[in-house]
Amino acid sequence: MGRFVYADNAATTNVSKSVFESMVPYLTTHYGNPSSIYSVGRDAKKAIEVARQKVAAAIGAQPTEIYFTGCGTESDNWAIKSTAELLKQKGKNQIITTNFEHHAVLHTCEHLKKHGFEIIYLPVDSEGYVSAEQVKNAITDKTALVTIMYANNEIGTIQPIREIGAVCREAGVLFHTDAVQAVGHVDIDVAADNIDMLSLSGHKIHAPKGIGALYVRKGVRLINFIDGGAQERNRRGGTENVASIVGLGTAIEEATKDIEARMAPIREKRDRIIDTILATVPKCRLNGGRDKRLAGNVNISFEAVEGEALLLRLDMMGICGSSGSACTSGSLDPSHVLMAIGLPHEIAHGSLRLSINEDTTDEDVDYILECVPKVIITLRAMSPIWNG
């Protein structure tokens, strides 16, 4: 095995050198507890506040509107459960979302359903988009919250967040968005986008795993997530993960700089992968629309091939990807995202997601394009349902 091509950046990314270097002092010399009054503690506290400014600046928010969390999933849980609890007291018991959210949102909504909430799952179209019109038509005087992802994690489709936000703002309904996949790939401005709450994660943008943030617009009420300390303005107690917070600050500053200029070459590589595979491999299809799509996301379904076998074969060749097949989802059903865009089970089982980034080279793309068709031919040759 020669080459190693990591094409699963939507799952996680490496910690960049600059992020790592910015973190080291807060693990070694400035290791003080940010709540302590002596200098190594104060240094840590200052570093947290600098990181908070960077996170805020990256999405057009104020530093006081940013709370550090343990991950994107925690941010989603916090935003949705807090809002649900607060608004239930006002007789609002309905949450509007889509049928292809991340499980961090879907399972949180399922939890609230058991506590008397009605969950409206807006269907996405066959290209993987929901419209502001759908949201508008679904809102009632019982609606407590609209929660819709900024960009889908499997098929990369970018939702009309600004329009959805405007509809919610006009109706006086709170709007939360899971922007874990979007941050660093799409220009986000919480004010212009009419976003009340936004979840983001560090490890998708070259910060370490175990750090996330939640933006909550000034004036939107928030219930304490962890009681027990004055950290995060009493909202989330517990000694801060200082080094990772600093890492997130560095990462988000880099990830949101010149986004379009950085995305253009990634998009070109993505399109070369998509176009070449669609042109050379028979009986396959691109999942999710092409235009409003994350620059690094490729998601293709191959008929008569099962996704896990495909991933294992690619892994043998040094390529890391992911799939929406049941066998890789840990359940018996294929990906709910692929089902949501109307794929039949048998096609959904054969999906391959490749998520490339700025580290992906032209040679990596060549290698992907050399290996994927080979693997498909091998697997189809042993597939009883392939009659090509």
Binding site: A304, V305, E306, G307, E308, A309, L312, M316, S325, A326, C327, T328, G330, L332, D333, P334, P344, H345, E346, H349, A381, M382, S383, P384, I385, W386
Partner: protein
């Protein structure tokens, strides 16, 4: 998903892949909706499995269980081949992850389905030999159950 070296070996280098055009028995189990289909071809002479081939649409474990199952029955008398259990397949592969046990069941059933076809073609009721061959129905992805 952690697979044993044995599973990975049979997945990477599957034995007896293909079809037998003049097979004496052909069996197919599973369905595309569930994400795995196994098809087994048997060539039988004088009560001995002279040749066996398979084709599988499915995950790593589905391919590995099909592959090792063909090895375990090739050259064996019918009576012995019919005794192949999914447990024996799992043991031969040095274990399977819990979520993949059904693949070993499919392998056992695919062979039984091929024998059922063999007996049926000869005008013999296969039930006393192979029992009823059916999907074990533990998979809710398929509306057929």
């Amino acid at each position: 998903m952690l697979y044993s070296d044995k599973v990975m070996d049979h997945f990477a280098n599957p034995r007896n892949v293909g079809e037998i055009p003049d097979a004496d028995g052909v069996g197919e189990v599973g369905n595309a909706k569930c994400g795995d289909i196994m098809k087994m071809y048997l060539k039988i002479e004088d009560g001995i499995i002279k040749d066996v081939k398979f084709k599988t649409f499915g995950c790593g474990a589905a391919i590995a269980t099909s592959s090792i199952a063909t090895e375990m029955i090739k050259g064996k008398p019918i009576e012995e081949a019919l005794k192949l259990t999914n447990k024996a397949v799992i043991e031969a592969l040095d274990g399977l992850p819990p979520a993949k046990i059904h693949c070993s069941v499919l392998a056992e059933q695919a062979i039984k389905a091929a024998f059922a076809d063999y007996y049926t073609k000869k005008g013999i009721d296969p039930t006393p030999f192979v029992g009823t061959v059916a999907c074990d129905g533990d998979c809710h992805a398929c509306g057929a159950h």
